[in-house]
Each structure stands twice: as C-alpha cells, then as structure tokens.
C-alpha cells in the first residue's frame, strides 16, 4: 500500500524498538498470528515450555488409561513395622518407577498421572471461568462506558478486596459435603472452580477493559460504526479478534497461578477429597503423616510435578507474550 512518508515513531526511538519495527515491516503481509508463531518458534525456551505443557495435557487426558489403578494398595511393598516402602528412594522399582507411598504402597506414578488430570482440570476450568467473566465484563465496561463502566469497575474493586485464599478455604469448609445436586469430588471441583474463577475475573476484566477503551477510539471501530455496524457486531467481530492476544497471554499465565492455588488448597486440606489423588494432597499427606523426612521422595515427586508444570506454563506464557507483544522487552 502506498502511503505518504509515514510518521511512525518507531524510527526515532531506541534502536531496539526500531529494529522490531523494521523486521515487522520486512515480513509484512503475514497475519499477526503468523508473525507471532515465527517469533515464538525462535524462542527455544518458550518452545520447550510449550512442549512440556502439551505433554502434560496429553498425560492428563490419556495417562490415567495407561497407568495402574492409583487406589490399589500394595501392602507387600511396605515394611510392616515402620510402614515405609521397602527399598531405597521410596521403593522405586521397574514396576513402580516413582516408588510407592508409605503405609499404603499405592503407586506414586499413577497417582501423579491422575493428579495431573485433577490439577489441570481445575486450573483450566477456573481459568476459563475467570477469563470468560473477565472478558465479557471488561468489554462491556470498556465499550459501553458511562455508568455501566462505573458499576463494573466498582464491582471489580469489591471482588479484588476479597482475600482469595482465605475466602476459598473458608468457603469450601462451610459448604456441606453434598449440595447443589452435587457431592463428593464433583462438588469440590465445582466449588474450587467457582471460587477461583469468580474471584479472579477482575484481574482479567481490568486488562480487557483497558484494551477495549483504547481500541474503541481506533479508526477501524469508527469505520465499522460509520458503515452502520451495531454494538454487538462491533463488539464481537471487530473488538474481540483484537483482544485475542492479551486474552491468550494472560490465560496462559493464569493457569499456573491456579495450579499453585489448587495445590495450596489441597495442602490445607480443603482441596480434592481422598482417595482421589491431587498433587497438593500428596504433599499434604507426606507432611501430615510425617513421612516426608524419612521418605523424601514422597514429597519431592509431587513437589517437582507442580514445579515443572507451573514453570512450563510460565515459560510458555512469557514466550507467548513476547511473541504477541514485541513491545514487552524481555
């Protein structure tokens, strides 16, 4: 496209930003997604993180079908007097590559794999809920403005004023073991997702609101409006695609937070109900039974699982942000 000598500021700021402006021009013609993918592919650390994330998701989906039943006890692998696994490193063997749990002799690998399903399920659902509410509220607040914006912004303040962790453990504690037509772990998962999602949306909402506010003033929205596009059309066809990048980035960064959060809740005893395995619950078991000091693998393995997962999501999220938003310098 021909243009008058453009006055883009990129040529006059620091060299670094200038260069990114230049290279963006060099690969002009490709969509933002393609550009981001090109950048992302060059970021080896982020790609490694992404690979781990995909692996974890596959493990969560298919893993439970490939490992043994996580609830089977192997009393024969346990020292009857001391209740700890026979053999070093928590009874690691070919049949039990991650060893077995003290007292019960349950296979740690299968519990880690099944725990991945629970942890990721909660993290993903909670993130989805938080993001959905946040995006809808953020767009409405930013686009409609006026008193609607005022009300939504105030309610974000209210929600942000709640101490999330305190609130979550308290709420899970006071709800009876069966309620709202659910019981057991489905109720617990529902509650956790609700609490995390319902009280974390304002973080997303604020970001989206800010983005919408700035997008609203941009030419293409004016253009759409001038050709008679209606509110919803503008919202979903014009604004939403432009918000995909921040939504994607912050979702990726919200997931690890939620994984840690679920682990913390399970550690405090208000997470997933035993015997269903969860990573935080496994650490909690190791600590509360006191076995972690004589059988450190009992605690270290789920701890590492949490660590690796969160790290992978963080690495991937950071890379994604850099790829989608070259302005963020990292």
């Amino acid at each position: 496209m021909a243009a008058p000598l453009d006055v883009a500021p990129s040529g006059d700021v620091a060299p670094e930003a200038m260069l990114s402006g230049i290279s963006a021009k060099a690969i002009e013609g490709r969509s933002l997604g393609q550009i981001a993918w090109l950048r992302l592919r060059r970021d080896k650390v982020a790609m490694a993180g992404g690979a781990v994330v995909i692996f974890l998701i596959l493990v969560a989906i298919f893993g439970p079908f490939l490992v043994q039943n996580p609830d089977i006890y192997h009393a024969n692998l346990i020292n009857p007097t001391l209740s700890r696994p026979n053999g070093p490193f928590g009874g690691i063997s070919v049949a039990h590559p991650f060893g077995v749990e003290p007292v019960t002799g349950r296979d740690v690998l299968s519990r880690i794999v099944n725990g991945a399903r629970v942890s990721l399920l909660i993290a993903f659902l909670a993130t989805a809920l938080a993001v959905s509410i946040g995006v809808v509220m953020g767009i409405i607040a930013g686009y409609v403005g006026g008193w609607v914006d005022g009300v939504i912004a105030r309610s974000m303040d209210v929600f942000l004023a709640f101490p999330l962790l305190v609130f979550a453990i308290a709420l899970v504690g006071v709800i009876p073991s069966s309620a709202f037509g659910l019981s057991g772990n489905s109720l617990r998962i529902g509650l956790l997702v609700f609490v995390i999602g319902f009280f974390a949306w304002p973080y997303m909402g604020r970001i989206i609101r800010g983005q919408t506010l700035s997008l609203r003033e941009r030419e293409f929205v004016d253009a759409a409006r001038s050709i008679g596009a209606r509110g919803p059309y503008i919202l979903f066809r014009e604004l939403l695609p432009n918000l995909v990048a921040p939504i994607l980035v912050y979702s990726t960064l919200l997931i690890p937070t939620n994984i840690l959060f679920e682990a913390a809740l399970s550690y405090l005893g208000v997470g997933i109900i035993p015997p269903t395995p969860s990573w935080g619950g496994m650490i909690s078991d190791a600590v509360n039974s006191g076995f972690y000091s004589i059988d450190p693998m009992y605690m270290i393995i789920p701890g590492l699982a949490i660590f690796i997962t969160v790290m992978a999501f963080n690495l991937f999220g950071d890379g994604l942000r850099d790829a989608l938003d070259p302005r963020s310098s990292r």
Binding site: D71, I72, Y73, A75, I78, N79, P80, T81, L82, S83, R84, P102, V103, T104, I169, V172, G173, S177, L268, G269, V270, I273, P274, P275, D285, V287, N288, S289, G290, F291, Y292, S293, I294
Partner: protein, 605 residues
Amino acid sequence: MRTRKTIGLAAIGAAAALALAACGGSGGSGGSGGGGGTATKASFNAGVTHVVNPSNHKGGTLNFASSSGIPDSADPGNTYYAQMWNLTRLYAMPLMTYASCPGPCGLKVVPDLATGPGVVSNNGLTWTYHIQPNVHFEDGTLVTSQDVKYAVERTFDRSKFPLGPGYYPSLLAPQNATCAKAMAAGKTTGCYPGPYVDRSKNLMGLNAVQTPNSTTVVFHLAKPFADFNYVTAIPQSAPVPPNKDTGANYQLHPISTGPYMFQSYQINKQLTMVPNPHWNPATDPNAKQLPSKIVLTFNVNPNDVDNRLLAGDIQVDLPGTGVQAAARTKILTSNSLKAQSDNPVSGFEWFMTLNNKVPPMNNIHCRMAVEYAANKTNNQTAYGGPYAGGTIGSTAAPPNVVGQKHFDLYEATTKSQGDLTKAKQQLQACGHPNGFSTGITYRSDRPKEVSVAQAMQAALARVGIKLTLHGFPTASYTSNFAGVPNYVHSHDLGITVYGWAPDWPDGYGEFYYIADGAAISPVGNTNLGELNDPLVNSLLGKFATENSATVRNSYTSQIDMQIMKDAAFLPIVYAKALLYRPSNLTNVYVQPFYGMYNYAVLGLK
C-alpha cells in the same frame, strides 16, 4: 495416628476418636498404689509396667506440645478427650479419679476429692459422697460440697458447655413430676436448665443433687446405675466456686484445686501453669507438684513436635497418640532411643462388624467363614504394623477393659494369615460353597481403613468371597451411611470397619453402645453389626444393679465371648501408640486408662 484434623470433620467426629483405655496386655506387675510403683531402669516398655526415673526433685520447666489446640476446652466441665481428662488432674480434683500407678492398678477408680468411693443406697438410686474437709481453691477458699453440686449443675447448661459428656442430665432424677413424665416419654432429659438460667435457691436449684452439709454430696438417680463411680471420675465433678464462675470464660482460668494453676492461657497458642500455693499434697496423693512451671504450646507442626521431643526441647506430646512415622523409624532403629520409649495399648480397638441382617451374612456360618478367611497380619499392617497399629486382636474388648480375658475362637493369633480350610468348611455349612458377594464400608478419608478394606478384599477372594468397596467420609459415616441400617440393608453392606474406646474401662462402658440390641437406632447407629443377642442384652442390663466387681468382670468376659461366638465382630488390632520419654523426665509411666503418660505426677531431673 496423630493427624491434623481435616476440615469438614466436625468436632463430634473428632470426639469419636476419644481414646480412653487401660493398660497393655503385657500383664504388668502390680505396682504399689498412690503414685508410687516399682522403680526401674529405662528400657523399652519399662514405662508400661513401672515408674521410670522415680524422683521427688523439684524445679524446672515441663514443656508440653500439641499439633493442635486443646481439642475442646480447658474447662473440666466441658471436655471429652482423654488427653484433657489426664491433663485436668493438674488443676482439678473430681470426686473420684483413676489411681496414679502403672499397670492394671491404674484402671481402678479411687477417691480424689472424696474421702471414699460413693456409697449406693439399697435401691441403687442414691449415691452419697463425702468430700475431704481441708481442700482449698487456689485463692485459699475452702472447697465445700456446694462447689461440687454447682459444678454438676453447670453441666446441665448445654449451650455453654456442649462438649463434655451428658451423663448427669440423663442419669439424675428429673427436676419435678412434669419432667418425669416428659423423660419417660423420651422427650427431654432433665428440665433443669443450669445455674445461669435458674438463679433460684442461691444457685443451688438442682433437686437431684443435695448437700446436707458442707462435706456431703448426695446424687439421686432416675434409675440404678452401678457404674456411677466411673461417672464421678470424669473431670465434670471437680468443684467450681459459684462466685468465681465466669461461664463460657471459665476455660480461660479454671479455679484450681490441683497442684498447678493457670498463669496465662491464650487459646490455641499457649498455656502456662505455675504451682498452686494452696495445694496440699496430703489431700491429693494422686498428683505431684514437682516442676516449677508447666508450659503447653499448641498448634506445633506435627513433625516438629517429634523433632523437639527427640531433641529434648519439649518433654511430652500432649495428645499421647504416639510419634509420627519419621520419629518412629528413628526410635525403632536405635537401641538407645528405643530404650526410652513405650508402646502401650491406647484403649482403642479397631474392628469390623459382620452384619446379622444382611444376607447371606445373616447366616452365622457365612460370618465365620469371613472370620477364618481374613488375613489378620495384613490387616495389622494396614493399621501401621505392631508398633503404630497395634497387637492383632482376637476378642471384642481390648485388654485394658477390666474383666477382659484372652481367648481366640478363630485362630486370629495362631494362624494369622487365615485358615482357608476352615473358611471353606464354613462356607459349605452356610450354603455358599463357592463364596458369595457382599459390600464393605469404611471411612474413605482414613488411609488405614481404606487399606484394611483392600486387604480384606484380597484375603476373602481366596475363598471366593467377593467384596465390593464402599468408602464414605468420616463426617457422615454413621449419620448417613454405615449408621443407617436401612441404607446398609438396601446396599448389601455386610462388613463395616469401625473402632471404639469406652468412656470407662468395664464391660458396660465398652459394649453398651456397640453391642446392645437397645442401642440399634435408625440413624446414627453405633451397633453397626445390628447384634441383638438376648444373652448379651440381658448381661448388659444386669450391670446397672450389680455392684460386685467379680460378678461384673465375669459379665464382661461372657459378653465378649458371646459376641465372638456370634461372629459379630472381626477384631483387627488393639491399638497401640509409640510414646517417647526424654531422659530428663522423672516419674514417667503409662496411666493405663488414658493409654498415655500420667501427666499429674511428672517431674524433671
């Protein structure tokens, strides 16, 4: 099994974990009474039968720690935990108490504030206690019979003191005729609302307790109850001065009659006790006043408790349920540490009930087949093995119930892996030679019960009995599932994993709730096997009026034998706890009823 209480577990669920029991099966030598006992050098289990490090050396700070707070309340009138019944002896003198001595001698109730055991009238309805005339509160005022009556009156106010046992309101005579009718109809207990509501007669409004003079207390019962001396051994009978009572706040500073009194108490944080200057050792032979300070620290990380215990930073783990796995390993693998530990039975028995109503288990032979087929060793391992779990059980009552006798009808101790031949014979007799299917219920949040259920599943499969697993949360275990007979019947739940510890160590305390046909209730049932054996029922009924110890003991063993003959119980273990006694602790021994060290007599080198 010291675990942090998990959330969702109501206080009542925790109360069910009450450990009240007596001395181990190791058959201790009869120590001398009154806080003495035979002295011995430190060796493994020495504290079960002997006083370790006897000494009258005064001074030092005695440190307790607990991984939780005080489980219910420091108010002697509002507590239902063994650790607290043990601890309150430091600052409260009930009418009766358990003798301060190791071995079976410690299972006897002896007078504490009273001058002698309660004297029962011929009709069994009146119990009279005389109290010592020269016992003083910590502020120097003399203890009178009215203080005892007032303490009993307080227990009627269930809104202020909901946590302690409710024996007085249910056992004592109704306040008046209207109440009597209501009580007979099962509508209410008592009618007396407690001294905070009924301010009449100078706070002495309870008609069922009379104080003819300042040293005599007379209890009028609704029905005979021969175990009443056990009831007055509960700390609820410790005197409370009416003018010093602060109601719900009394827990912050109970007025002491024991060797120590509260200096400061921050709930869930710390309790500090100092010697009570008005305590007279002559009036309280069951306690000692040796350390110059006692400090209890609460909410210490469970592993930290053990580490501090082994390091000597603290001397006693308050709940007395034994060390955690890490410390257990350290202790059992070191001779010197092992010599400083005791492994007493805690008073709990873990068992399974075999249901009398669920077919085909309603056939005794099918139940016997289960008895024989079970692998008792694996069951024991499920509970933590011989030290942390307990000894393999063969009787329905644990050995620290007075009158319990050892017998073994189903080769639990002799063929602990199970006797498959006999099991098959019983199956033949039952009419299911190739086995049958039934369900087993257990508390899914208790790993030991999950473990034992799976062990049973594997063991019974050996003779063709197919067991399906049904785990339920502890909080609703008896209220919604295992304790609801209709649910049990409709779901074919033939086996139920359970555990029990009595409020006092005799056959009545042990068996009434878990084996009397009258105790079967449609909801919240505790007689989970629905045993309704006329012999058991009638023997339990006789306890109320029988005062002879020998006869009562024979009832206990007869009931036990009958339950096992019915194959109604499948014992798992007599629970045990591994306790550690630091070398600088003196006068250490296991109080057999509490199943933990006697806190009233400890001293420091």
